[in-house]
């Protein structure tokens, strides 16, 4: 299946990193911006399409073998550089998310793409747990394993309020095949089953989005749009107030069972202790 590479991520990266130092990560598909956001040091990370990627299944912005490990390298470098910095002064790490999927291919499976993505997840989680504010800014697709590796370990997730911003566990065509339903039937189900929906409003009821940002255009942002997004990023860092967890997601309207299970576990925990 051919997909068109998205340039949304790059558009937002370039505008947000205009005053920053920009460099490539371990591979050209990872861009890193280093600078300041309202006085706080920060790094912007973007996975972008690379038509010359050594791995052909990762040429449209997918998170593949190299991208997973490159993210791991970039994020863990920031963490180790600032190991002795007080949490309140640690730099913010901002993932700009526009990832169509993980890379699907034979080489990817054979060479352990799951482990490459684990490298990225591990680095992001360690950064957050060490006290770095980790913010995800969704500007395009945030799909499945690619989102787990780049963005889902953030302690705050912001999204442009735009129909091109989508979060999902699997592309529609593949999901239809695996669940033996038509794509139309999946759309129909999504209307009544919020976790199956592809739209952002449904996703937000799962407690996963902290704020929607109303921009005039997601693909040709105005200077006001950029300022607004910058203000929201700064605010998101402030709102964290040192929180290193992702537990606030459980407060979502459609996370009742997630809370109930945890309440029961906590209630039974002590009496289940080994004698």
């Amino acid at each position: 299946m051919n997909i068109l590479a998205s340039h949304r991520g790059r558009i937002w990266f370039d505008l947000l990193a205009a005053q920053m130092t920009v460099k490539e990560g371990a591979v050209p598909s990872l861009l890193i911006g280093e600078g300041e956001l309202s006085g706080r040091t920060c790094s912007l990370l973007l996975i972008q399409p690379d038509a010359h990627n050594r791995y052909p299944r990762a040429r449209h912005g997918e998170v593949g073998l190299l991208e997973g490990w490159a993210l791991a390298e970039a994020v863990s470098h920031i963490v180790s550089q600032e190991a002795t910095v007080e949490p309140v002064h640690k730099s913010a790490i901002i993932a700009i998310v526009d990832v169509p999927s993980q890379a699907y291919g034979r080489r990817e499976e054979a060479l352990g793409i799951h482990q490459a993505l684990a490298g990225a997840v591990s680095a992001y989680a360690q950064a957050r747990q060490a006290g770095h504010p980790v913010i995800s800014l969704l500007v395009g697709k945030a799909m499945s394993g690619a989102f787990l590796a780049h963005g889902y370990q953030a302690n705050s997730i912001l999204a442009l309020n735009d129909s091109g911003v989508m979060v999902h566990a699997m592309g529609k065509a593949a999901a239809a095949r695996i669940t033996m339903r038509s794509e139309d039937a999946l759309d129909e189900l999504a209307k009544t089953v919020p976790p199956m929906a592809y739209d952002l409003k449904s996703f937000a009821t799962l407690g996963l989005i902290d704020d929607f940002i109303d921009v005039s255009s997601a693909i040709a942002p105005s200077p006001e749009d950029i300022e607004l997004v910058q203000r929201q990023l700064v605010q998101a860092v402030k709102n964290l107030g040192g929180d290193t967890q992702i537990t606030k997601r459980l407060q979502g309207e459609n996370r009742g069972a997630s809370r109930l299970v945890r309440e029961r576990l906590r209630a039974q925990w002590k009496s289940a202790a080994p004698k």
Partner: protein
């Protein structure tokens, strides 16, 4: 019980139910299940879609001991919805691991054993499955600093999707010959990339790339183990006793990048080529 050295009399771990698997791993009589089937916390999302739920939602989560050492032991039931994780199943795993983290932070030592038999996200609960997996991953990264988190993949389902990433975060990863480990399920790859890239019907090809023996030969797991229940238990004991490793597999960043940047991708890869690229002996 397994009888001495006669392999014909060994009891296969692979054939045990999720609950039995946990029981076999733990010290006799020490298993205490939490949020049991009697709690009847089922998936209302499945019911909304006309699918009969299961009273444990396909996850058995317990506390117990192994060699007297306090652990949480969790098994995914591969026979219910392919071991897929929805909201309840995912919350049982994440919630248990979060409590283990809290206990360790308070000075109590509790390790973890995960028996993974899972296709990953349950597509009927799509985004909530994905969210739960992110929460499980966060808890493992926190817990593994204190105590070992040992993951077992024994088959027949294997470990796929977001949960393969979870496996890659654990302190130690053990697989049997029947186990498989991969990010994308064969059907999904065939759907996305075509049958010439990945033939989901070709079972020897799939086991050859993602089976336990290959994963061991490519250094992507710690041990290739026998599926006899006694030996599985011994291996879990052995790895728990190793404590927290000096470095985690998910931190092998530079060596992985060095190897993967040199791969010739002009021709398609074979299992043998993958071994040559990733084996511990492969020169850098």
């Amino acid at each position: 019980m397994s009888n001495g050295n006669d392999p014909r009399l060994a009891i296969s771990f692979v054939e045990q139910s999720a609950r039995k698997r946990v029981e076999h791993i733990l010290d006799a009589g020490s298993m205490r299940e939490m949020v049991t089937p009697f709690d009847r916390v089922t998936s209302h999302w499945l019911e909304m879609q006309g699918i009969v739920p299961q009273f444990d939602d396909g996850v058995v989560t317990t506390r117990g001991s192994i060699d007297g050492k306090s652990v949480v032991a969790i098994a995914v039931d591969g026979s219910f919805q392919g071991g897929s994780l929805g909201e309840v199943a995912g919350a049982k795993i994440a919630g248990t691991l979060e409590l283990a983290v809290e206990a360790n932070q308070a000075g109590e030592s509790i390790a973890a054993v995960l028996i993974l038999e899972t296709g990953g996200v349950r597509l009927q609960e799509a985004n909530l499955g994905l969210a739960a997996i992110a929460e499980i991953q966060s808890a493992i990264v926190a817990l593994r600093q204190f105590q070992p988190v040992v993951a077992l993949i024994t088959g027949p389902v294997g470990c796929f999707g977001g949960m393969s990433i979870t496996a890659g975060l654990c302190s130690y990863l053990l697989m049997t010959r029947e186990g498989r480990l991969g990010l994308n399920g064969p059907q999904v790859i065939e759907q996305e990339a075509g049958v010439s890239e990945y033939d989901s019907q070709d079972r020897p090809f799939i086991w050859g790339l993602t089976g336990g023996e290959q994963r061991d030969a490519t250094g992507l797991i710690d041990d290739f183990i026998d599926s006899d229940v006694i030996k599985v238990r011994q291996k879990v004991q052995e790895y728990l006793s190793k404590g927290v490793p000096k470095a985690f597999r998910s931190e092998a960043i530079q060596s992985s990048l060095d190897r993967l940047k040199k791969v010739d991708t002009r021709s398609q890869i074979t299992a043998e080529m993958a071994r040559a690229i990733l084996s511990k002996e492969a020169s850098l």
